[in-house]
Symmetry: C2
Subunit: 225 residues, 2 copies
């Protein structure tokens, strides 16, 4: 059932079963296909989404058309909160990286929950705080690390969320093209490709179609920082 994934979601942290059930009931389900856009940067909109299955990418486009990905979100993670608490247009474009299903909640609905339930506010605060911490880390990486370092870090991050451990290494089906990976770490496709090829030639990982198998996580970690 839906509630299984949602119960894991940090947004629901601290809610008892009854409350979680009620909250779920007031949410609407949305299904999209790979490549579909949920909303564009600059759009109006004040719904909060929680991914229940699949992955989406949060991206921004610069004036001259280049793209930059802020995050890849998977099951349990939410997006769209910014326009809720800091009113304004959507600050990023959200696109499905795989076929996806998610649950959404309107501003007004959420407002009702917030007022009555301090736990929900706490959950949201801790989510935002975690995101802010992560955003700050990304900034530090952009300033301090080179491209291979950022690639290594991105792979480790993806593996911690989407990785499956097997005897030949950690299989990470990230579903991203190298182009998208490059946008995620803020580098060109070519440079990322070369970094990956280099890692592979050292035996740290194996490349597969839209996925990698990490074979020497320790070395990658060392390369990342």
């Amino acid at each position: 059932m839906i509630t299984d994934v949602l119960r894991q979601a940090p947004l629901f942290g601290g809610l008892d079963d009854e409350a979680a059930e009620a909250l779920t009931a007031s949410m609407a389900e949305t299904k999209v296909r790979r490549g579909d856009v949920l909303f564009h940067e600059g759009d109006e909109g004040d719904r909060l989404y929680v991914v229940t299955d699949g992955k989406v990418k949060l991206g921004r486009t610069s004036a001259d058309g280049r793209e930059n990905l802020l995050a890849i979100l998977g099951p349990g993670q939410m997006f769209g909160e910014l326009s809720l608490f800091d009113p304004g247009p959507r600050s990023a474009t959200v696109t499905a990286v795989t076929d996806c299903t998610m649950q959404s909640l309107s501003h007004d609905e959420l407002g009702r929950w917030l007022d009555g339930r301090p736990e929900v506010a706490r959950g949201l605060l801790s989510q935002l705080a975690a995101r802010l911490r992560k955003a700050n880390d990304v900034v530090a990486d952009l300033v301090f690390s080179d491209v291979p370092g950022r690639v290594a870090k991105a792979l480790l991050d993806l593996s911690s969320r989407f990785g499956r451990v097997a005897d030949d290494g950690v299989h990470v089906h990230h579903d991203l093209t190298q182009e998208e990976l490059a946008q995620l770490v803020g580098a060109s496709r070519e440079t990322v490709n070369k970094a990956l090829a280099d890692f592979a030639s050292r035996g740290w990982l194996r490349l597969e179609a839209r996925s990698v198998v990490l074979m020497d996580v320790e070395r990658l970690k060392r390369r990342a920082r």
Copy 2:
């Protein structure tokens, strides 16, 4: 009186006079001198601070000792929230850029306010959301803009918060050395110096000791994006 500045602080948004007074009463005052460190990255601590006078810088240090500033905060702005909602060590070092006074609140105190007062939670949520939005902008700038563009943007940001309009331009006493400015935009001191010299030679601004006078804000804005 203290409450004047605090009433402006977003943290207090939506509180009536009586509540604001009570909240102020439960806060402790701290005074520090230029250069003093409030706490270091990695320290334990769970107090939330609001600057009432002066400026502080939030910074991180990389493994090899280089520094990066996340933000310059002035009167009304808060810091230290991350360790509150996303428990863990302090994620940045906070240093006074000028002599400063601030008010602080402990985790437990704040918790009591949160539970009873949905407005406080809302205020915090909108603060965090705004910070997150800003952090994402910084990331985009690092990826898309060159150093002069980021310098221009940083100056405009500082001027919007600390600028005084006069007939010869907007006076911005940022109190930062060029070294600190460089750490703020993620560039070397030399490159920032050259960017500033270039802007000055074009007549867009005038350089003074730890402050600038912006004379052509329009051009700077155009250069920034």
